[in-house]
Symmetry: C2
Subunit: 399 residues, 2 copies
């Protein structure tokens, strides 16, 4: 409307936790602060869904559900807004069990460039009625329209939860453990990988004393009996690959400390060198290629002399090397390292971004990853936003 | 290409199992028989995915996986092609546990109107790289492009499976049982509802002797201990709502018979009146509204004097009243009954189609269900298929 008349860019701004610059006003325009659209509108216990305005944050929703038997599963670590999480197709630590935000949104309300407000779905659990507009706007990073409201799925809080930590002689052994568990159909709620450097950073930052070695953080959800059965099976499996015995965090407080430390791994790593910027890479590959892809990248890291600890959602094949770079030559080395990492991921039939989105930083990889499909994306953008007012300069590569 | 030059409609034809006329050449043109694009191209055990040509059928894939530890979960009953299932966003009996086809496709290869062939994703388990073209073509019923190849997820075959049948005094009691189990987080792999009329038809058609009453068919997947625990809990829960004790089908043969009978319910119902056509309705509503929606519809059915047994995927809130109509006045009554059913589903914030698609038959409901979002769908269609050669006359309402 007004913005369209004046061709003023509209950049939605949620919690500002994007790591790819999705919320930067690179071409000027109006940053729309979504933080006051923070009403939790309808909670449907029996249907296990909730309708929220786009500016509601993850922790705000968690608090609102604290007394309920339900929880919202998508957990990217940061206290992002639900609208922002949908816009970047976010996921996080428990995706292996509960899916990404894509699988957890039932419907959106979206403001379009012509000023119309559409609803993209109903509260039905599934539908085969018409084009999947919900999924079109999820991951579009605000470039096709402005998400104003979301209906998201909730999940029953598990009866029992237990978490465990296990260290391994090599990264490959840790990855093979995770892969084997998944192949055997063992349901883990979380299985997170940290390399020795990341464990060391976390120990230092969160005053913990984990073995400085490649490590898996596990979490199991289910009935008390199921959780115990799964955890024992996972421990046996880890043992086959040389894993240590499990160190348990059965009570809630210890568990919270563990995941708090894991969530803060990014900050722990950044704290290793306050003068450096952090380049947060985000490749995702088929799990059968993950060990090779990581081994090659670790070699590359050593050759490059870069500090780049590894954390990742190993069950999804999604890992982040967080590259610290101080000064111009290290920044250039970090950028080159990132490019080689993405090339490697694409060679293994993976993606340049598992969960962070494209934003500004990864536009240059879009053509290599998507080929001619980029043209289809461009056409969708032109059709839905002919004047290019929605978050310009993001996601799509330059012409 | 040739078809575009001559504006000749392209209608993909898979197994012909669409119940909404999605494969009819209503405007002439070329029906492309996909049945010889039936190669299973790459099976990745460790990654739990398989690359198939679009004409591979469900049972063909099941047979190819018979010796593997993996299975393909999407099961609409019919021996549909995988491409057809993607095009109609199909689901079926075990969606409550494994998701619809939407959650089980990693990537597509799609032929576009300009003759280009794109790939919409990688084999990575998740990605936040670019617009979700995969989901755009899933459910598009061949109106935006022709799906030629799919990379689909597989699941580890459960260690143990057990199935049980339980009858209830009322439909509401059966629905409340299913809803309560889901709220309590109890994982069922299948929970199917049949009303007394459907049970009677199934008994007759498959020579079975189930109690002629509202009935749930359950299936549980997991480890032996988990399956037993879940089944006991489900039986206890059913008891609270007046359900009978469970009749078990623990061995594979009995289980196959049970599900074969359930899958054939449609044919069993049709066999009640060979002279009649069957109008296969397909609404899906939030589960909290399902009992009300069904009760009102049962009253309507009685007032209308129609034969319309009920079968449904109660865990998803998706039910089919299969209306038998012989002669013109019954057909008119069936059409009016269907319209009232859809109105009711939309009033309860549901959808006119849970899993069958829109095809021809439900185009008239699109505006009521989607409002202005239909315009967005139209614009996507015009942009991707400007000459309207892909499956014209389907999915979108008439102007």
């Amino acid at each position: 409307m007004l913005c369209a008349q004046h061709r003023a860019p509209i950049i939605p701004y949620g919690a500002g936790s994007s790591v790819e610059g999705s919320t930067l006003a690179t071409e000027g325009g109006i940053a729309i602060d979504m933080s006051r659209m923070n009403r939790i509108k309808q909670l449907h216990h029996e249907d296990q869904d909730v309708v929220v305005e786009a500016g509601v944050t993850r922790l705000q929703l968690a608090e609102a559900l604290a007394q309920s038997a339900l929880f919202f599963s998508v957990d990217p670590g940061a206290d992002a807004t639900i609208g922002g999480m949908a816009s970047t197709r976010a996921s996080g630590t428990n995706t292996v069990r509960y899916g990404t935000i894509r699988e957890n949104v039932l419907a959106l309300e979206v403001l379009l460039a012509d000023g119309s407000l559409i609803r993209t779905g109903s509260r039905a659990r599934k539908s085969s009625s018409g084009y999947d507009l919900t999924r079109l706007f999820i991951g579009a990073e605000g470039t096709l329209g402005l998400i104003t409201e979301l209906t998201v799925r909730l999940h029953p809080r598990p009866q029992a939860i237990s978490a465990a930590v296990c260290s391994f002689p090599t990264l490959r052994a840790a990855i093979e453990t995770a892969s084997t568990l998944l192949q055997e159909g063992l349901r883990v709620a979380r299985v997170e990988l940290l390399d020795a450097a990341a464990v060391e950073a976390v120990n230092r930052h969160s005053s913990m004393e984990h073995d400085v070695a490649p490590t898996l953080f596990f979490e199991f959800h289910g009935s008390a009996a199921t959780v115990q059965e799964r955890a024992q099976e996972a421990e046996r499996c880890a043992g086959r690959f040389g894993g240590s015995s499990f160190r348990w965090s059965a009570n809630e407080k210890e568990r919270e400390q563990l995941w708090h430390a894991r969530h803060n791994a990014y900050y722990a790593i950044r704290a290793l060198n306050e003068a450096a910027i952090a380049v947060s890479t985000d490749i995702c590959v088929p799990i059968s290629s993950l060990a090779d892809c990581i081994d090659e990248t670790v070699e590359d890291r050593e050759r490059s002399g870069l500090t780049a600890p590894l954390v990742g959602h190993v069950g999804d094949g999604n890992v982040h090397f967080i590259v610290l770079a101080a000064g111009e030559s290290e920044r250039a080395a970090a950028a080159a390292f990132h490019e080689r990492l993405v090339e490697r991921a694409l060679r293994y039939d993976g993606t340049c971004s598992g969960e962070h989105g494209i934003g500004i930083g990864k536009r240059k990889f879009m053509r290599a990853e998507h080929g001619d499909a980029v043209e289809v994306m461009r056409r969708l953008k032109r059709e839905l936003d002919p004047q290019g007012i929605f978050n310009p300069g993001k996601l799509l590569p330059e012409d």
